[in-house]
């Protein structure tokens, strides 16, 4: 293991700093008035305001779900501020006009927005609290007809596209947190890749929560037109704070016939301290709709957040469509995760693959929850699920809740599961070869997660591996 990883293992949550940026923050509380104000601040068209209001009214009638295997004190929805934006006089004409303090924040996180410094082949959109502060590489993408911008901008510049697809995969009435998001969503990324175009670079969004006592409610919409290909990655960080912060995002993917959408997440929200104080509540709805002969692939590495509640799913609507879900979820100290996927087979000869790796350390609690559903017309549907749990120490928990519903006799559904414990003998073996206990655990866990890491773009696979090491810091004596 390299010295850079070693230095990372001995580091605390490195993204836990606060940036001193003047912000325009709405007072705490949620009402129709607040929803209108958010819409007004963003100069939105009438149809979008109406959509938000419908969502808000629906949300008021919905109970907060308590079926996930996680425990937390009640959330005071009136105690949260639903909008916070870095203050600025007018819309930005270019990245040069972004508050230098924000640019410094991203540099400290290792995400330079200055295009000259960009990693070759990655375009970045940066979301700071509620708004996008800048998108790089736009000109290169525009030459191919690819739209990559903040959702707020897209509403103004491409209203028809947004209107057509917004809520088409996750309707505002979908669930409690999706309804809340639909009412108050701030910003997020919008991607459209035209017919037959293969997006030549990774598209990436970096989400940063900075302001205290605010929620972050971003919404991402990705549309790959017929035969198009796009690979997208999101990363997330937040300052260390002793109170919990709510993050309720929605991501919608649309893969039109023959298209491929690959969506990767490296989630490193602040996880709270060793006693479980503070940290992000990461309650997220992610879903993709796959039309005929298309493919949607989710890869997630979840190392942060006090609580993670998310099930990136695929509706396999078209014949021969493919859905994939590769997941690593790590919990340490008092972290809790209830995560998994849903694969809904509607079309004929649809295929899905689920590979889930859960790692529990400290007093962390990790649950895999998955649903594989084969509807009556899904002749020839095929699913393979592999669900592995690894325990580090003896105070943590690993749980598996697989639901399988098959209504077509020709379907083949496989489920494999395993639970293992990091062996003292494995750690001793590696220590005998000169590695520290922490390096040993990090190596064993990385090996355990290999099948998922290989699905990540190269540079992010390394980052994910390093994050894993940091998350498990102190989990062995």
């Amino acid at each position: 293991m390299s010295s850079s990883i070693e230095s990372l293992i001995t580091k605390e949550y490195a993204a836990g700093f606060v940036s001193d940026v003047e912000a325009d923050t709405l007072p705490p509380g949620l009402s129709e008035e607040i929803v209108r104000t958010i819409s007004e601040k963003k100069a939105e068209p009438e149809w979008l305001l109406e959509w938000r209001l419908k969502a808000y009214r629906r949300w008021q009638t919905m109970p907060e779900p308590h079926w996930p295997n996680v425990k937390y004190s009640p959330i005071d929805y009136q105690g949260i501020s639903y909008f916070s934006a870095p203050k600025r006089a007018k819309p930005l004409a270019s990245l040069d006009e972004v508050d230098p303090e924000i640019l410094r924040t991203y540099e400290r996180l290792g995400i330079p927005l200055n295009e000259q410094k960009m990693l070759a082949g990655v375009a970045v959109d940066a979301i700071f609290d509620s708004v996008s502060v800048g998108t790089t590489m736009r000109a290169e993408l525009a030459a191919l007809g690819i739209i990559f911008m903040s959702l707020g901008e897209a509403v103004r510049e491409y209203p028809d596209l947004v209107r057509r697809y917004l809520g088409s995969v996750v309707p505002y009435s979908d669930n409690f947190f999706a309804a809340l998001n639909s009412a108050v969503f701030s910003d997020g990324s919008f991607v459209y890749v035209p017919k037959g175009v293969r997006c030549p670079m990774e598209l990436s969004t970096y989400f940063r929560i900075n302001a205290a006592d605010t929620g972050q409610f971003e919404r991402t919409l990705i549309v790959a037109d017929e035969g198009a290909y796009v690979s997208y990655l999101e990363g997330c960080t937040a300052p260390k704070r002793s109170t919990n912060q709510l993050h309720a995002a929605v991501v919608e993917l649309v893969a039109l016939p023959g298209a491929t959408v690959k969506y990767s997440t490296v989630q490193n929200w602040y996880a709270g301290d060793k006693e479980g104080r503070g940290g992000i509540y990461n309650f997220v709805t992610k879903r993709g709709k796959a039309f005929a002969n298309s493919k949607i692939s989710w890869t997630q590495v979840e190392t942060g957040s006090a609580i993670t509640w998310k099930y990136p799913s695929v509706i396999l609507q078209g014949d021969n469509s493919v859905g994939e879900f590769y997941s690593v979820a790590v919990v340490n100290n008092r972290q809790q995760a209830d995560t998994g996927t849903k694969m809904i087979h509607i079309g004929k000869n649809t295929k899905s693959t689920i590979v889930s790796k859960g790692i529990s350390a400290g007093e962390g609690n990790n649950s895999y929850r998955g649903r594989v559903q084969v509807l009556p017309k899904a002749t020839g549907a095929r699913n393979y699920t592999q669900c592995d749990s690894m325990l580090v120490g003896n105070r943590c928990g690993a749980h598996t809740f697989p639901y399988i519903e098959v209504a077509n006799n020709s379907a083949i559904v496989e489920h494999e599961a395993s639970t293992s414990k990091i062996g003292e003998d494995q750690i001793f073996y590696l220590k005998q070869r000169g590695l520290s206990a922490e390096q040993a655990v990090s190596m064993i866990v990385s090996g355990f997660c290999k099948e998922v890491f290989k699905e990540l773009p190269m540079e992010f696979a390394l980052e994910a591996q390093q994050l894993l090491g940091i998350t498990l810091e102190g989990s062995v004596g």
Binding site: E424, Q426, F428, Y429, K431, R433, G434, S446, G447, K450
Partner: protein, 257 residues
């Protein structure tokens, strides 16, 4: 000064005493064989030298290169040049042999104040060391010991020894489960690594391995004590007469070695 100086060493597993007072001195460049019947404590001695936390040292002292070995963590011992070739090498699924070996190699280099090597430099080194143990380079891409045959695992241990270049190599029943061809390859590898600056402790139940790795000193362990030390002819005598003539009257230590 001796490389290794063990005085009155006692050790237990759980409540069970296994080592009941070991005295052993080994000089630089020497090869010592530790023989003995099952349960005599010879594998325990190997594990205790490497610092396995499953064994509790209850008394005595071990000095290595003048340092108090018992105060050192297993990784510090490894970095100071102690290498244990395990009797049962452990599987690490998903971690490639090459990645693991380079990580270990770099840790040991760092401890010596040397710079780390990159994958390309390391590949050159591996090519040379693989030849030493007659191992297929394909094995480098496979996960550490995962799905390896018994012989492949033992060969992999000797490959690691060849790469990490310890000062003191401890072979814990490296011969067990090997057929005669594999035994020869492993022994040839070890012999090529014998120098004036490297010592070995060869733990074995059978004399057979010592035909190939010829020791300077043979110790016979019984019930947690060294009951006889001598030259290589002692091993031959054991082959002929068995252990009984040395161990009669000594109570068994209990746990299988």
């Amino acid at each position: 000064m001796a490389l290794l100086d063990i005085r009155g060493l006692t050790a237990s597993v759980g409540d069970k005493p296994i080592l009941r007072g070991i005295d052993l001195t080994l000089d630089m460049g020497e090869v010592h064989a530790v023989m003995g019947p099952n349960g005599s404590g010879k594998s325990t001695l190997a594990q205790v030298l490497a610092g396995n936390p499953a064994y509790e040292v209850t008394g005595g002292s071990i000095r290595y290169k003048g340092m108090d070995l018992l105060e050192m963590e297993p990784e510090e011992r490894a970095q100071a040049g102690i290498f244990l070739a395990f009797q049962y090498p452990v599987e690490i699924p998903g971690v490639s042999n090459a990645y693991f070996l380079r990580a270990a190699y770099n840790e040991i280099r760092k401890a010596r104040g040397e710079s780390e090597v990159d994958p390309l430099e390391f590949a050159d080194l591996m090519e040379e060391r693989l030849a030493l143990v007659d191992m297929d380079p394909v094995m480098l891409g496979r996960s550490v010991n995962t799905g390896f045959s018994g012989g492949e695992k033992k060969r992999n241990e000797i490959l690691q020894l060849a790469v990490l270049e310890p000062t003191l190599g401890i072979l814990d029943e490296t011969d067990s489960g090997l057929d005669i061809d594999a035994l020869r390859t492993v022994a040839d590898g070890v012999n090529k690594l014998r120098t004036r600056h490297r010592s070995f402790i060869v733990v074995t139940h059978y004399q057979r391995l010592l035909n190939y790795i010829v020791p300077d000193v043979v110790h016979v362990l019984a019930a947690g004590r060294i009951v006889r030390s001598g030259g290589k002819e002692l091993a031959l005598a054991l082959e002929e007469k068995g252990y009984d003539w040395l161990t009669e009257g000594a109570p068994a230590a209990g746990v299988s070695a």
